[in-house]
């Protein structure tokens, strides 16, 4: 069985053209794999490149070197070299990405945001609607908020909409970037339970959780990203 996600010798830096072309190395020699049913948690101080690794796997950031392979049914796709349309199709069917921040079109009600994510992830309209309601209820988002656009919600409420949106469809690879940062203990426990259900269903997770309770509740393995520190550059 091939891993769901494999980083092989990946390196990433940013070149700041507006700052005289200064190069900021982010990570180097990254190799790691996520198998079905596994929750690999990235550890290390902030600035070590944890979020960048998730963004690279999602195709949101480019890579300078190496390969990031994602299993798509019987095929394996290298995200680093994938055509944008292949990447979009992978995002629709295979990769779910949940960040700390909800970015949506203004004016769209929370329930619609979550339902639409379900339909984009391949669910039929009825299933998307049922699951959206179920998820928002499980995440304790008061029903009176469902018909309102999330722009006016608190940080924690927005985050729960974001989690519902990310988890509604049946994608086998979850990239979770601090999805519980502004949640209280009760809701963190709900998210942990949702993640464990996904793992039981054969999904794999690559995640960042600063909260140790959350990490202990879901992690099968912790990878310290300081070991991917880029080689020091000559000045």
């Amino acid at each position: 069985m091939t891993a769901l996600l494999t980083f092989q010798d990946v390196a990433k830096s940013f070149t700041l053209h507006l700052r005289g072309g200064v190069v900021l190395p982010v990570v180097g020699d990254v190799s790691l794999a996520v198998e079905p049913g596994e929750c690999v948690v990235l550890g290390g101080p902030s600035g070590a490149g944890k979020s960048s690794l998730l963004k690279m796997a999602y195709g949101n950031y480019r890579c300078d070197a190496g390969a990031i392979r994602i299993r798509d049914g019987d095929a394996v796709i290298d995200v680093v070299r994938a055509d944008p349309r292949v990447m979009l199709s992978l995002r629709a069917r295979v990769i779910a990405y949940v960040s700390q921040f909800l970015r949506v079109i203004p004016r769209v009600p929370a329930l619609d945001v979550v339902e639409a994510a379900g339909r984009e992830g391949g669910l039929d309209a009825a299933t998307a609607q049922a699951r959206a309601k179920d998820l928002l209820a499980r995440l304790n988002l008061p029903e009176r908020l469902w018909g309102l656009p999330p722009a006016t919600f608190s940080g924690g409420e927005q985050q729960r909409v974001n989690i519902a949106r990310g988890l509604i469809a049946d994608r086998p690879l979850l990239l979770l970037d601090e999805p519980t940062a502004s949640l209280d203990a009760q809701n963190r426990a709900v998210v942990a339970e949702l993640v464990r259900e996904k793992l039981k269903g054969g999904a794999g997770v690559l995640g960042i959780f600063h909260d140790s309770e959350m990490r202990d509740a879901v992690a099968t393995r912790v990878v310290d990203v300081t070991r991917f520190a880029p080689p020091a550059r000559a000045a």
């Binding site: 940013f14 053209h17 944008p84």
Partner: protein
């Protein structure tokens, strides 16, 4: 993967010594939303006019997959054939609604006209479809007999969208459809465009200088400068990890796109 609906190859246009559009090539597949961004004068509106065959290129081709599956060079179509295509299978939503609408004709007439252009003659059916589309773009039914001169900017843009979509086009070109509108009105229009393009599986080319609009609506993005495409790719990748100096400048010059 689906075959391209539109194929642009080597499009080039000069105004005297100035290159307005230099060797631009891309494909668009059904259902895909492509944003073309750049500052004013970057050639993005010229590119749109070339694609719509409103301008003749100095070099290059625009090919479109006809309903019969044939990819045809638009330059090889007769003038009448091109017009028919633009009236039925293509839409063009203009920045200035006065250019995309007939300002002296009622809202219903504006929507009905494109249907009549397709050969529909039954008044009741035309009016019913016009009403349906006014509803879909959130224009109240009792405004059907008002001319767009009595509409607000946002309503005019929504009416343009209804007029363009009533014929069931497969490709819609949009030139800065939300600029000049209040922010709240913009949001409503963006939501509408996104919903309709997804529901109808439209291919869309949207020209905008607003990176936030590009991010919300488009799958892929093309960054133009001085007539050339300098960067292209997944919209969020180009905006979040721009490779070119000019794209980095564009992205860093806006407040939270």
């Amino acid at each position: 993967m689906s075959e391209p609906l539109l194929q642009v190859r080597g499009l080039t246009k000069r105004y005297g010594a100035r290159l307005a559009c230099a060797d631009v090539s891309f494909d668009l597949v059904p259902g895909e939303v492509l944003a073309v961004v750049g500052e004013s004068g970057s050639g993005k509106s010229t590119l749109l006019s070339l694609i719509a065959t409103e301008l003749a290129p100095d070099a290059g081709t625009v090919s479109y997959r006809m309903r019969d599956g044939d990819l045809r060079d638009l330059a090889g179509l007769s003038e009448a054939g091109r017009r028919a295509l633009m009236r039925t299978e293509w839409g063009f939503v203009r920045q200035d609604a006065a250019q995309g609408l007939r300002m002296a004709v009622s809202a219903g007439g504006n929507v009905g006209e494109r249907l009549m252009g397709m050969g529909e003659r039954h008044y009741g059916r035309i009016r019913a479809q016009a009403l349906d589309w006014l509803g879909r773009v959130e224009i109240a039914a009792d405004r059907i007999d008002d001319p767009p001169t009595r509409f607000s900017g946002g309503m005019r843009q929504r009416l343009q969208i209804a007029r363009n979509l009533v014929t069931g086009p497969r490709l819609v070109l949009m030139d800065e459809p939300t600029s000049g509108l209040d922010v709240s009105v913009q949001a409503r229009l963006l939501d509408l465009i996104r919903r309709l393009s997804a529901e109808l599986g439209l291919a869309v080319i949207i020209v905008t200088h607003d990176l936030a609009v590009a991010r919300l609506l488009s799958h892929r993005i093309v960054v133009m400068r001085a007539g050339r495409v300098i960067e292209t790719g997944l919209t969020d990748q180009v905006l979040d990890d721009p490779a070119q100096a000019y794209t980095q400048l564009l992205v860093s010059s806006v407040l939270a796109a």
